[in-house]
């Protein structure tokens, strides 16, 4: 299973919920046989998932999608300015970046996390993130980190580039991150979360209009190099 891939969870016990819910892999630990999903309660489906009790059995299809591009070579100790990954997340979009950070750290590259939320309470799992990299924060109300959006953080003023930027979060945030990446000529990948049904590339509901036409976010994504997106 690769960071950036997702699962489709069947939601039982909610009569309003018909389709599976696509949720990104937050963390995978093969030593403890654990897979974490970070569920943001937004509607009936996620509410039912959030109410699951410990020990409940859930029906999950996994792993789905492509995942972020990991470094080809082991980056042991290459923590120079140009060799690091910058992982930019907003809201619940921070979820897949934790597992991505773990996998990068396992390859000897300590990533930089730039995480944003509306307020301090939206910024979750910070201790987990700090295990794997350096963490910088923004909040819209200034209750944690710098006030503003992730794209306004002072980190962007610093000289030196990154090997790659990986981003996941609300679309306007990712579009803004992509613009900064282009300005700085840094390769950038974004994880999209279009509405999905099948998750297998069959129903063609979740398409994104790309330079190659309509492609399925569930199968050809959810991670896309921004050069392929019409942003």
């Amino acid at each position: 299973m690769l960071p950036g891939q997702f699962v489709e969870v069947r939601v039982d016990g909610s009569s309003e919920t018909f389709l599976r819910r696509p949720i990104s892999i937050n963390m995978l630990d093969r030593s403890t046989n654990e897979l974490w999903l970070l569920v943001h309660t937004v509607g009936a489906g996620t509410r039912a998932l959030a109410q699951l009790k410990e020990g409940a059995v859930v029906n999950v299809v996994l792993p789905l999608g492509n995942g972020f591009t990991l470094p080809e070579n082991n980056l042991q100790n290459d923590n120079s300015d140009g060799g690091r990954y910058l992982l930019v997340g907003g809201g619940v979009g921070t979820a897949p970046l934790l597992y991505l950070g773990k996998e990068l750290a396992a390859r000897g590259s300590r990533p930089v996390f730039l995480l944003g939320g509306r307020s301090a309470g939206d910024l979750l799992q910070l201790d987990d993130f700090r295990q794997y990299g350096d963490v910088y924060l923004t909040t819209e109300d200034g209750s944690a980190g710098e006030r503003g959006f992730v794209t306004q953080h002072s980190l962007w003023q610093q000289s030196g580039g990154y090997a790659r930027i990986c981003t996941c979060g609300p679309k306007p945030m990712m579009v803004a991150v992509a613009r900064l990446a282009r300005e700085k000529e840094i390769s950038c990948e974004a994880s999209l979360e279009n509405l999905m049904a099948c998750g297998l590339g069959a129903c063609l509901c979740c398409v994104e209009d790309t330079t190659e036409g309509h492609v399925c976010v569930c199968k050809d994504g959810p991670v896309f190099n921004i050069d392929k997106l019409k942003w």
């Binding site: 009569s15 018909f18 599976r20 063609l204 036409g213």
Partner: protein
């Protein structure tokens, strides 16, 4: 063990369970979940003469016990299918049918003619009922004359088994079924999706990019069942029933209403291996009720 085989015109199926067009890709997408060779048939994605980009996103909305879609026949065109998809799908040991769509009787016929040349495609399903395209599609399926004109054009060039997929968005589906039977259709399949829409109350606008879409899933099953029942009384050709089948009991109900075979559609999204469970369940039903053949169920509730 009961005999599961059925015939749709000259097309023999090892069992009555097929997958509905647009819900199962080309089958290969489901290879991890399903023994594709166990299926009665696979009806591959709607194919048109020219490539189509389909409609803009968003194309899907979840509804109570179902979903709306307005994909709009996105496909790479019949020539791409013949060159790139056919060599792969022909390897499967199941009936591979192509769902054919168009925007004029001539374009339907030309698409069907090219597929007729493929030895291992024994049948097509003629889609005169797609609610999500501006030109053609459902426009042909909602009048007897329109439906007849497409079937006539295709029948003239397509000698193999011709199944015509009917729209439920009509006053009398039995009349349409009679019209296509009169033009030489070998079978009818029903129902395509019911036209519907969803509105986002917070944003005060339609959810789907083109406003309306086709409703599928268990929400439409009672409508589909009623229509199969009515068409069974109206025509002599076999019926392929679909619309919200989620399990073997649903499939049996469609057969009792008059369907010779069934298609599983939206249920594949909820459980990618559902087709296997439906086949097993039908077998179990036949055994419990001492039927020698699944064909004994067809129309048995009438």
């Amino acid at each position: 063990m009961a005999d599961l085989s059925v015939n749709i015109g000259n097309l023999g199926l090892k069992n009555p369970v097929m997958t509905a067009s647009g819900t199962f890709g080309y089958g290969l997408e489901f290879a991890d979940f399903v023994d594709l060779n166990r299926l009665g048939g696979i009806i591959v994605k709607g194919t048109t003469l020219e490539p189509r980009q389909g409609n803009a996103y968003p194309r899907m909305a979840e509804t109570a016990h179902g979903m709306l879609n307005c994909v709009g026949l996105q496909n790479k065109g019949v020539d791409y299918f013949c060159e790139h998809i056919y060599p792969e799908v022909r390897k499967m040991d199941t009936a591979i049918l192509v769902n054919v769509s168009g925007n004029s009787p001539e374009s339907y016929a030309e698409c069907a003619r090219r597929i007729a040349a493929l030895d291992d495609i024994p049948a097509i399903e003629l889609n005169i009922s797609c609610p999500n395209v501006k030109q053609g599609g459902m426009a042909f399926g909602v009048t007897c004359e329109g439906a007849a004109s497409v079937v006539r054009a295709v029948r003239a060039v397509y000698p193999k088994t011709l199944i015509v997929k009917l729209s439920p968005n009509v006053t009398s589906i039995a009349d349409i079924a009679r019209a296509v039977e009169a033009e030489g259709a070998d079978a009818v399949s029903l129902i395509n999706t019911l036209m519907g829409m969803a509105i986002d109350a917070e944003k005060r606008c339609p959810v789907l990019s083109i406003g309306t879409g086709g409703l599928s899933g268990p929400a439409v099953k009672p409508v589909a069942l009623r229509m199969v029942w009515q068409v069974y009384d109206a025509v002599k050709i076999p019926i392929v029933g679909l619309g919200g089948i989620m399990n073997a009991t649903d499939a049996v109900e469609f057969m009792l209403a008059g369907a010779t075979a069934v298609e599983i559609g939206t249920a594949n999204f909820i459980d990618p291996s559902v087709t296997m469970k439906v086949i097993d369940g039908i077998e179990d039903y036949l055994q419990r009720h001492n039927f020698a053949s699944v064909r004994d169920l067809v129309g048995a509730a009438h």
